[in-house]
């Protein structure tokens, strides 16, 4: 009876929310008030997939949903921003019959790293993907090892972990799992033998803190490692990117499945690989996965083209408080090689909370912009001066840097001088402040992974 009521109320609020445009977690919040353990009594389909980690959750979930739907499965999955317990309850209960049976073939959940343990108290995913653990929103997340300790108690008995073998910290979760399936990438032409970046979180073993040796790095601390103390090392992978060509935007998985990339970036390759692994594990054939990932174009607007004054531009969404996300945008700009100017905006550090905390600027590898193709760098927003100080500690010539804190005045300046291309790097929290000053252009590029 309580189930009946919880589902009914959840669906009702969900419906009303649709009319009034309210947030997605309210129905679940109310349902949990009526019946706190309601999720423990839901009848789930045979496949319940959860995805967590610092970067790539949303892209992995959306891509996986696309592939599963393309092969005819009914997928219940959550969108960005509803990845805590109330959000999960809203999603699941509004997809249930009044007796509490999920009307779908697969439940696919993006779960917040810190809240997964509360969600999986009531039910267990069959497959639990952990993408990576990187420095992300340290103001609320503490640090990657702290996040590790939050995720660890969320791992239920019987669940198959699907882990990124190339991340030494993520790999430690295998010790707590009944079964682990590994994904990873072999050495590629773009892999490096030396670590690149401002900080190196893979220098010492996450288990015993002895120095680690890397055969190669793909980015940050992601690569092939071995601890000189306890022997912790990259596991043999079940799902493997055996070849990757960033210029041709093509990868090969397990030596036989060719996939065309909508956006050519190392991070995107990992999202595709995680998607491939999990779809295969729930019974989709490799060929079907490859074909349908190939047809997938990220639709979350993380890359947008625009016109500003005399320039065409490309907006590369990055996340404040997430240096890897910034680094990936800066790498993209540096690698494109064509003459350009770059706009970096840091105005509101977060959409959700007020903070003046900008230590993360020091974790970003701004030195990447010290290349001949980058003709000018505009720094803007409330924290423009702090950005300027940060960049003054790189070797970028000072006369290439223009600091204009006022975003509107900056756009006037950047739009007046002709550059080959204008790249804008900022976060969701500052996106519209900039794009509202520009004229949108049709997107030719699929999207950018974060």
């Amino acid at each position: 009876m309580r189930m009946f009521l919880a589902v009914l109320v959840c669906r009702f609020i969900h419906f009303m929310g649709g009319l009034f445009g309210r947030g997605s977690s309210l129905p679940g919040l109310v349902a949990l008030k009526i019946y706190p353990s309601v999720l423990a009594h839901v009848k789930f389909p045979p496949a319940v997939v959860a995805v967590t980690g610092s970067n790539g959750k949303t892209s992995t979930v959306e891509m996986t949903a696309h592939v599963l739907k393309s092969v005819g499965k009914k997928v219940i999955y959550n969108r960005e921003g509803s990845n805590q317990i109330a959000g999960a309850a809203s999603l699941i209960l509004s997809s249930c019959t009044l007796t509490g049976k999920v009307k779908g073939d697969v439940v696919l959940l993006e779960t917040d790293e810190r809240y997964a343990k509360h969600i999986f108290k009531y039910f267990s995913p069959t497959h639990y993907v952990i993408t990576n653990l990187l420095r992300d929103q340290l103001t609320r997340n503490g640090h990657p090892e702290w996040v590790y300790d939050s995720i660890l108690p969320s791992i239920p008995r019987g669940t198959t972990l699907v882990l990124n073998a190339d991340d030494p910290l993520v790999s430690c979760f295998a010790d707590a799992a009944d079964k682990t399936v590994w994904f990873g990438m072999d050495r590629q032409p773009f892999s490096t033998e030396e670590h690149i970046g401002v900080y190196d979180d893979g220098k010492y073993c996450p288990k015993c803190k002895a120095p680690m040796e890397y055969e190669y790095y793909h980015f940050n601390h992601i690569g092939s490692y071995r601890c000189t103390g306890c022997g912790h090392k990259k596991a043999a992978t079940d799902f493997t990117v055996t070849a990757a060509d960033l210029e041709k935007a093509e990868i090969v998985i397990n030596g036989e499945y060719n996939i065309k990339l909508a956006f050519s970036g190392i991070y995107n390759i990992y999202n595709i690989l995680a998607c491939f692994a999990v779809c295969s594990l729930i019974g989709v054939s490799g060929g079907d996965v490859a074909q349908n990932i190939g047809s997938y174009v990220l639709t979350n607007g993380r890359i947008q083209r625009y016109r500003l004054g005399v320039n065409e531009g490309m907006f590369l969404i990055s996340k404040h408080e997430n240096s890897v996300s910034y680094d990936s945008s800066l790498k993209y700009i540096a690698q494109s090689g064509a003459d350009c100017a770059v706009i970096v905006i840091v105005d509101s550090v977060s959409r959700r909370y007020e903070t003046g905390e900008t230590s993360w600027l020091w974790d970003i590898d701004f030195e990447l912009l010290n290349c001949d193709s980058v003709k000018r760098i505009y720094l803007s927003g409330k924290h423009a001066e702090e950005l300027a100080v940060r960049l003054s500690f790189t070797d970028i010539p000072a006369d290439r840097i223009t600091v204009i804190p006022d975003i509107e005045k900056m756009t006037e300046a950047a739009g007046a001088e002709k550059y080959g291309m204008l790249y804008t790097v900022t976060c969701f929290s500052d996106k519209d402040k900039f794009l509202s000053k520009t004229e949108p252009l049709e997107n030719v590029c699929g999207g950018v992974d974060r």
Binding site: T139, E145, W146, S359
Partner: protein
């Protein structure tokens, strides 16, 4: 002027390295930064050769490991302080210099014992912006705290808090100054955000 960035690759969580770069810039061309990784903490080390030693924030696990490595050099660090070296320890690194540290589990380990304060750790993190007063600067200090511990038994704090929390949640005094030792739980590039504080240390070293 020789500056030492102690455990630059191990206690380096929140862009802390900006602190020593900023101080070196304030000191001018005479400043010379030596970066010492964890793996170089072996054999005889003479810390008295440095005018300034900086150490930054670490994960709790790294901090415990760092503490064991530094324990061997407890007397060498003490000798440097007695000899006039200034030490700045930010984030949880300053906790290592106290008498003891008690984990949330109840486990207690000895600190380096250079000072009498004690540290208790919990499973909850406290994160907050802080504004504080320091006697050595005119402008208030701004910074950020991100910690899972409380510090007890400090008589001579670094800062008086205007907004935010001090050494314990109900204490308005933050950090410690004792002789040439400056400890604060403020994370990140504190000297970048507070140029007057960078000048204060530069003056101290001139």
């Amino acid at each position: 002027m020789k500056l030492l960035h102690l455990l630059y690759d191990f206690c380096n969580l929140y862009g802390d390295y900006g602190n020593i770069l900023t101080l070196a810039r304030a000191l001018g061309e005479s400043a010379n930064i030596r970066r010492m990784p964890l793996t170089e903490l072996s054999g005889e080390l003479d810390f008295t050769q440095y005018g300034f030693i900086y150490i930054g924030s670490a994960t709790e696990k790294n901090q415990r490991t760092a503490l064991e490595f530094l324990r061997v050099y407890r007397d060498a660090l003490k000798a440097a302080l007695d000899n006039g070296t200034v030490i700045l320890a930010t984030g949880n690194s300053f906790e290592m210099f106290g008498k003891e540290l008690t984990e949330a589990s109840g486990e207690t380990v000895k600190g380096l014992g250079l000072f009498d304060f004690t540290v208790t750790r919990s499973d909850e993190r406290t994160v907050t912006d802080i504004h504080a007063v320091f006697s050595g600067t005119k402008a208030p200090i701004t910074g950020f705290i991100n910690r899972c511990s409380a510090i007890h038994g400090v008589d001579s704090p670094f800062f008086e808090i205007i907004d935010g929390i001090g050494n314990t949640p109900d204490d308005k005094r933050e950090g410690i100054i004792s002789g040439g030792f400056y400890g604060t739980h403020i994370i990140g590039p504190l000297l970048v955000r507070n140029p007057e504080l960078a000048q204060y240390f530069a003056e101290l070293l001139r």
